[in-house]
């Protein structure tokens, strides 16, 4: 139920970003993605929907307030609770809100987040609307508390990780990475294959630690690159780097689960 709601909200917030992107079409792309459904044609990454500015659309579409479902007092659009001191019930989920707004940040997606600040915001929301505080509640807003709490969980867990944050922003900006895409970028794939083989052959903790150091550097560099790409609104580059990060994070997970003497066969379901 909750996941259904968050998906709808994410979809409602799928509004493209800036017109500046269209000028980067001629840029030679490193990654050629071929849609697996149509293998004969290769698709250039720059064939993305031309993005538009997010905030202009949002400001025109969204009212500043909405009536409380119980007492009809107009409450700020994003308010979690009714502002009427007599009422104070938890509000229903506001449609068209992205995860940044859920956590009280600007609706403009930004890759650079202050993790400490994010955590504080998340805790504050959970404190306010944690379903347990409403378990004995007769107002009937326990369900809304659950939905709000679940949305906040989803928003926080998505935005706190560099990979899910990158993928989420790409989705918001209309450039998601599809399951059916296949990657044909020899340089990256060769590096991944080599890293995976080294990990497969590793015998001792020390060897794995060394591979971990190399991989940590890769992750750090890729995250820095993503920050730059998103800042410069270079979606094509951001998508390329998000794909790279996916590979490095997978290696990180394999390293985390590594136990001497246990071969790694399939590393996820």
């Amino acid at each position: 139920m909750a996941s259904l709601i968050t998906t709808t909200r994410a979809k409602a917030a799928q509004i493209p970003f800036s017109t500046a992107m269209t000028s980067t079409v001629s840029r030679s792309s490193r990654v050629i993605l071929s849609t697996a459904a149509n293998n004969t044609s290769t698709r250039n990454l720059s064939n993305l929907t031309p993005p538009r500015r997010l905030n202009t659309i949002m400001n025109t579409k969204r009212p500043e307030t909405r009536p409380c479902w119980k007492c009809s007092t107009p409450v700020p659009y994003l308010a979690l609770q009714c502002t009427n001191p007599e009422c104070k019930v938890v509000q229903t989920l506001a449609p068209g809100v992205n995860y940044f707004e859920t956590l009280g940040l600007s609706p403009e997606p930004s890759y650079d987040v202050d993790l400490k600040d994010l955590r504080l915001r998340f805790f504050k929301i959970q404190q306010l609307i944690h379903p347990d505080s409403y378990s004995q509640n007769t107002n009937g807003d326990q369900v809304y508390a659950q939905q709000q709490s679940s949305l906040a969980n989803k928003a926080y867990s998505t935005l706190k990780e560099p990979l899910s944050r990158a993928n989420y922003i790409l989705e918001l900006l209309g450039a998601p990475i599809h399951e059916t895409e296949s990657l044909n970028e020899p340089e990256l794939l060769m590096e991944v294959m080599e890293a995976r083989e080294l990990l497969e052959e590793a015998q001792t903790e020390d060897e794995v630690q060394e591979l971990k150091n190399v991989n940590d550097t890769r992750i750090k560099d890729t995250v820095e690159g993503l920050s730059k790409a998103f800042k410069g609104q270079d979606l094509e580059q951001a998508k390329t780097l998000a794909i790279e990060l996916q590979y490095w994070i997978r290696i990180q997970n394999v390293i985390r689960d590594w136990v001497a003497g246990h071969p790694i066969v399939a590393d996820h379901v």
């Binding site: 399951e179 990256l188 060769m190 991944v192 996916q246």
Partner: protein, 156 residues
Amino acid sequence: MLRTTIFNASRSLFAKPSAAIAVRSYHPKVIDHYERPRNVGSFNKADPFVGTGLVGAPACGDVMKLQIKVDEASGKIVDVKFKTFGCGSAIASSSYMTERVRGMTLEDAGSIKNTEIAKELCLPPVKLHCSMLAEDAIKSAISDYKRKRAAATASA
């Protein structure tokens, strides 16, 4: 060590799982390929009669290498090897593909559709992309071989 301890402890705590827990289970055919993968390994990439296909799935971070050894006179695939880092379905798809293309002409091998692999392994819809990856891999290996041969004949 700590992890195993915790795992065992938690397992005893929840020793009786309720029947309602949904388990994603693989089809026996997938498990068979996963437990006894066929033709795992590598050929020398520089061998003029070896074609290498290296493909990846960007959404999940899988990587698959499929290599073919071709007999130039008959134009048939005489040997196949693969190496896949990914989920059980991706391993099974590539393992099955190596069995399927052995002895085939390049043309026949290149026309194998992912739907055939998915059907054979009874892959669920969420795993269809694994079979697509295997189809991409064989195609990529064939075109690598053809590129090598074209370069060799041009320089001869």
